[in-house]
């Protein structure tokens, strides 16, 4: 077992308890997609693409009064330590479902009856928290596609590590840690649209971790907005790059 927290109270990658990993956001990275975004979060490298609103295939899935939202979270075979079979795993199918349900409240689907919107997430490299990072990128891609939205969606996890509640677990922390609590919110509407828990926490710890995850979401939300502003209103310097201060392994 690795020592996950050293005597200075820092984590293996040098972060404080409540510190996010370095991250990077981009929008409009693909030519064919109607909207696209790219996120790096720790070692996560994820591409998000949105196609739609478009005709529904197969036709019988058409909804008369609103848009059909579909979501696919997929990992490239080379994205993890041991090669992943490219066929969708049960894990990918579950995550695709909860990501779709986390995005749906933010979209004004009634504006696009009888159409479909496809949200595709491709994890090129996976680290802890890939579903949260993917969700944050997916919201950007939806905005980039010009889909009518009530709010952005942004996600971040907190967890428990050697008895301590910490923000944004990396791969190694997730594996060795006690619990992981991914949370997604619509910041302006004060709605939690994704929440999962793997692992054990007391009721009190649950509250602490939940609130820490909300803080992380807010930081990322600011970065999302800055990325969109920089893209669409041409600020010279995209402000979403948060450089890590602590030592990194």
């Amino acid at each position: 077992m690795t020592t996950l927290i050293n005597e200075q109270g820092l984590r293996v990658d040098g972060r404080r308890f409540d510190q996010l990993r370095p991250f990077k956001l981009e929008v409009g990275v693909l030519r064919n997609a109607d909207g696209s975004a790219y996120i790096e979060m720790g070692k996560n490298k994820i591409m998000a693409a949105v196609y739609g609103p478009k005709e529904v295939h197969p036709k019988h899935q058409t909804l008369p009064d609103r848009c059909l939202l579909r979501c696919r979270y997929h990992m490239s075979p080379f994205s993890v330590d041991t090669r992943k079979n490219p066929a969708p795993s049960r894990r990918e199918i579950e995550i695709s479902k909860i990501l779709r349900e986390a995005l749906e409240p933010a979209l004004i689907l009634g504006d696009y009856p009888r159409t479909a919107i496809d949200v595709y997430l491709e994890v090129l490299q996976s680290d802890g928290g890939s579903r949260c990072a993917g969700l944050t990128a997916a919201a950007l891609a939806l905005a980039d596609a010009g889909i009518n939205m009530r709010d952005l969606v942004v996600a971040c996890a907190a967890g428990k590590l050697g008895g301590q509640i910490v923000l944004d677990l990396s791969d190694v922390e997730d594996k060795e840690g006690d619990a992981d609590l991914p949370v997604a919110i619509m910041p302006n509407l004060n709605q939690v649209t994704l929440l999962q828990l793997d692992g054990m926490m007391t009721g009190e710890e649950f509250k602490t971790a939940f609130e820490m995850a909300l803080q992380g979401c807010k930081t990322l939300y600011d970065a999302q907005k800055a990325t969109l502003i920089s893209k669409y209103f041409g600020k010279a310097e995209p402000p979403q790059q948060e450089v890590q201060e602590g030592p990194e392994e």
């Binding site: 695709s96 994704l194 999962q196 054990m200």
Partner: protein
């Protein structure tokens, strides 16, 4: 849970009426907001399984069976047995359940139940290891859904817990790197009894144990599982709607209270308390 949703014509009028009732703390069925329907548990009816349980919550009915086989451990956990949860929403269970590969909903169900068992450390997987890196016991829990009237998450979860807690498996002796089956039958190495509590939000009200009609109208769903020490050990939010931060905290409290009640009931029913 979308299973069983489509057949019901969801009239807005019905939802309005339900919301009215709920705002007064009542449900259309007459239940209180935090009342479960009757929970029935029968164990041991599948003699060919190591353990089995048929559980009904109201009209929802599932059966879980436990099989234990020899297996090879995963390379990254050479000293742990295997746990495999599989759920089948049988076509007998609903007008809308089609035969075929498991739907997205069935996969979510199985994975959430799996996490509830795994993350609560209900089974001490290390005690299922016979020869580290080579031979371990693999515990298969298969759930067949027979009849659907809402809240499959809890019904399946209780069936799995009851089947596991009452299972008897062959004892194996290990000596000189050889595994030998004995005649003795022993229980699985059970540490705790995780209990899930599923809640639904309809408009601004949180209820527990939604039935099929309530599921058709609910805005969002939250399942939280807890163990006998009041630790929360698994969670899953579902449905295309959200919760406020306050509702999440309220749900946490309800999950711990109702979890304790249902754990006591379950242990009584299967003869463990």
């Amino acid at each position: 849970m979308a299973i069983g949703k489509k057949p019901i014509v969801v009239e807005q009028i019905r939802k309005t009426r339900m919301a009215e009732f709920l705002s007064k703390g009542r449900r259309l069925s007459g239940r209180g907001l935090l009342d479960y329907r009757p929970i029935k548990i029968e164990t041991g009816l599948i003699e060919k399984a190591s353990g089995s349980a048929k559980v009904s919550i109201g009209n929802t009915q599932v059966i879980a069976g436990v099989k234990v086989e020899m297996g090879t451990p995963f390379p990254d956990t050479p000293d742990q047995g295997l746990l495999i949860v599989n759920t089948e929403v049988l076509p007998i269970s609903s007008r809308n359940a089609e035969p075929g590969p498991p739907s997205e909903d069935a996969i979510e169900l199985a994975r959430v139940v799996d996490r509830g068992i795994r993350e609560s450390k209900m089974i001490d997987l290390k005690k299922l290891c016979l020869l580290p890196g080579k031979k371990v016991l693999a515990v298969f829990i298969d759930v067949s859904v027979l009849d659907i009237d809402g809240n499959l998450f809890d019904t399946i979860s209780y069936a799995c817990t009851a089947a596991l807690a009452t299972a008897k498996i062959r004892k194996y002796d290990v000596a000189n790197e050889e595994v030998k089956a004995t005649e003795e039958m022993v229980p699985l190495p059970i540490r705790t009894t995780p209990i899930s509590v599923t809640m639904a939000r309809i408009e601004d009200v949180l209820i527990v144990d939604p039935d099929l009609e309530e599921e058709a109208l609910m805005d969002a769903r939250l399942t939280l599982a807890s163990d006998h020490d009041d630790n929360i050990c698994a969670g899953q939010k579902g449905c295309p709607g959200g919760f406020t931060v306050e509702q999440i905290m309220q749900a946490r409290d309800t999950a711990l209270v109702k979890g304790k009640e249902n754990r006591d009931l379950l242990k009584r029913e299967i003869g463990l308390a």
